[in-house]
């Protein structure tokens, strides 16, 4: 599978002699990443308004549609969010080796060992990162949890939406979930809590990306745009040896 990672050592050495440039994030990974980012931001802002309407419209009800508009934006963003999430899950099974599900769920002993090293890196604020190329194992596990939260958020959202869905709307199917979530009011509560978990994750994710980018000097942030990341040759070798 190392064909997926194209090596361009000439280009890399022009920037920094010790590292090589690896194509880590293929296009669907980057695309879904940014679509999820954008939709989560829109969903969180509109969702926060829906939960706590901080703008009050002044004019007669017939001339204003603030909550209605916010709800509509929320629903459209939810469609983007859901499809991106779905696409990303599909890509876990057909994408390149850095996009695979086993990057999220550690199955090998090596990844568990590496996860331990990463935990020490984060908790002890170590100056140098452990070896890695794609997702570090700890981050991978976190993303798995985040996908679960996203899924829960989407399903509770559908359940809430389903009870007012129109005649013949396929969304009505999701009303079977209502009792599983403990009723609508509890579904609402879970939905609201999911938003806060995602907000916390976004803060954590951006902070970590900055930390790791500085510590590993690997263009971690740029890589989410270009797909290329700088990797120490020994890291790549170690990874290949691992397989």
């Amino acid at each position: 599978m190392n064909t997926a990672a194209s090596i361009d050592s000439a280009a890399a050495s022009a920037v920094q002699p010790q590292v090589i440039r690896v194509y880590v994030w293929d296009l669907p990974v980057r695309l879904t990443h940014w679509l999820l980012t954008g939709s989560i931001v829109v969903l969180a802002i509109t969702g926060f308004y829906i939960g706590h309407p901080f703008i009050t419209a002044p004019d007669p009800a017939g001339q204003e549609f603030v909550m209605g508009t916010v709800l509509a934006i929320h629903f459209f963003a939810a469609i983007v969010f859901s499809l991106s999430e779905l696409a990303r899950i599909v890509w876990m099974f057909v994408g390149n080796k850095y996009a695979r599900w086993n990057q999220m769920i550690p199955v090998s002993k090596a990844r568990w060992r590496s996860a331990w090293e990463w935990l020490k890196f984060y908790v002890l604020f170590r100056p140098v990162t452990p070896r890695f190329v794609g997702h570090n194992p700890l981050a991978g596990m976190t993303y798995m949890l985040v996908y679960a939260v996203c899924l829960l958020s989407a399903l509770t959202g559908y359940a809430i939406f389903s009870v007012s869905a129109g005649i013949g709307s396929p969304m009505q199917v999701f009303s079977v979930l209502v009792p599983l979530f403990g009723g609508l009011q509890t579904a609402r509560w879970i939905h609201h809590l999911c938003m806060w978990l995602l907000v916390l994750f976004v803060i954590h994710h951006v902070s970590c990306a900055l930390l790791v980018a500085r510590a590993a000097k690997n263009a971690a942030i740029d890589s989410m745009f270009s797909g290329y990341r700088f990797v120490r040759p020994e890291d790549l070798e170690a990874e290949e040896a691992e397989e």
């Binding site: 009800a61 204003e64 100056p127 009723g183 009011q185 916390l200």
Partner: protein
């Protein structure tokens, strides 16, 4: 049958109710079910033709609120139901007999009309202390319910206590209170009419429906009839336009409150509560809670005493943080905490990286 039909027609005429008016009333009943008006004629026939069906009304861990609600029935009136429509052979709050003679009336129905009467249950059924938390005539509520509901053609669990356990079953459920469905498992033809109390119009409608079609109306997953519980209060609310516009009451008695803006921010549970309050109203359509300026409490939903509280907050807090700590307050503090932790961590890491780089530099210089 002919005798009872002529009885009804004569009776109506003597009381100044023409046959036309009676059919008109049945049309009103039909419209409650959103059925074509011609169905009204069919209901009229059914009511006239039927011998008065027997109904027994059991009260367990109750407050008599549903009985009181029944006394407010206006279409048809309670007097009409008691005297003409049904034979209410047992109802502790209204019956003339008392003591063992009252119990004999109940036993008579159960033994002489097996499968031939309607049982109405008001109040939850306690299972703690071997049933001692509610006894009538020395027998426990559970014993009575199993016998009476078990032999009934159909059972109506009226009010949220009977339908879902209600107030006695609210955490920590000190008496082990159960709903009828849970206390008498496997009951056939059980229908739930929750709400605190159930609306008299819906009770009347369900009874007439049953007598007319000889079956219960279609129900939702909580066994509530769709004609009364099929739509969220929010989707029927007279204040919905203010919600969509983004116009909310912020303080009790403020200009927005007086103008009838949406009560969502005051904790209204209309969006998650299914009942026809905005449509049929209470006390013969005089008003309903949101109409008088107070948020919906969500009383027709299971476990509303636990799930819909605090009543004045539209969403519950997080367990373990106290009753007033909203998810938003906790979320903001958590977000600030995470951001602060990373800011500090970033600084520490930056410092350590400087030291590390210097060491590397020195190591490089030495070699």
């Amino acid at each position: 049958m002919a005798a009872s039909e002529s009885w009804l027609v004569e009776e109506l005429e003597r009381r100044g109710v023409s046959r036309r008016e009676f059919v008109g009333f049945c049309g009103v009943m039909a419209s409650i079910f959103a059925m074509p008006r011609t169905v009204g004629a069919r209901i009229a026939q059914a009511i006239e033709a039927a011998d008065k069906p027997t109904l027994v009304w059991l009260e367990f861990q109750d407050c008599a609120g549903n009985t009181e609600s029944f006394l407010r029935a206006g279409r048809p009136t309670t007097a009409d139901i008691v005297l003409d429509t049904l034979s209410i052979d047992y109802h502790e709050t209204i019956m003339a007999a008392a003591g063992h003679r009252a119990e004999e009336a109940l036993e008579g129905v159960v033994s002489q009309k097996p499968g031939g009467y309607i049982a109405v249950v008001e109040g939850s059924i306690p299972t703690g202390a071997n049933g001692a938390y509610c006894t009538i005539g020395g027998r426990s509520a559970e014993q009575i319910a199993k016998e009476v509901c078990g032999g009934a053609a159909a059972t109506i669990a009226i009010g949220t206590c009977a339908a879902f356990g209600g107030l006695p079953a609210a955490a920590p459920n000190p008496t082990g209170a159960l709903s009828v469905a849970d206390a008498v498992p496997g009951l056939k033809n059980l229908i739930n009419l929750p709400a605190c109390p159930a609306n008299a119009e819906n009770l009347a409608a369900v009874i007439v429906y049953f007598l007319t079609f000889n079956r219960w109306p279609p129900v939702d997953r909580y066994r509530r009839p769709l004609f009364a519980y099929g739509k969220a209060i929010h989707d029927n609310c007279e204040r919905r336009a203010h919600y969509d516009a983004g116009q909310f009451v912020e303080n009790w008695g403020d200009e927005a409150h007086r103008r009838g803006y949406c009560l969502y921010k005051m904790g209204c549970k209309g969006p998650v509560t299914f009942q026809n309050c905005p449509r049929v109203g209470w006390n013969e359509g005089t008003n309903w809670p949101v109409g008088c300026g107070h948020p919906c409490l969500g009383c027709a939903e299971p476990d509303f005493w636990d799930k819909m509280t605090p009543f004045y907050s539209h969403i519950a807090g997080v367990p373990g943080f106290g009753v007033h700590a909203t998810a938003d307050k906790i979320g903001i503090w958590a977000a600030a905490g995470v951001a602060a932790a990373y800011a500090i961590g970033g600084l520490v890491q930056y410092g350590r990286r400087m030291v590390h780089a210097k060491a590397e530099e020195e190591k490089g210089g030495q070699s």
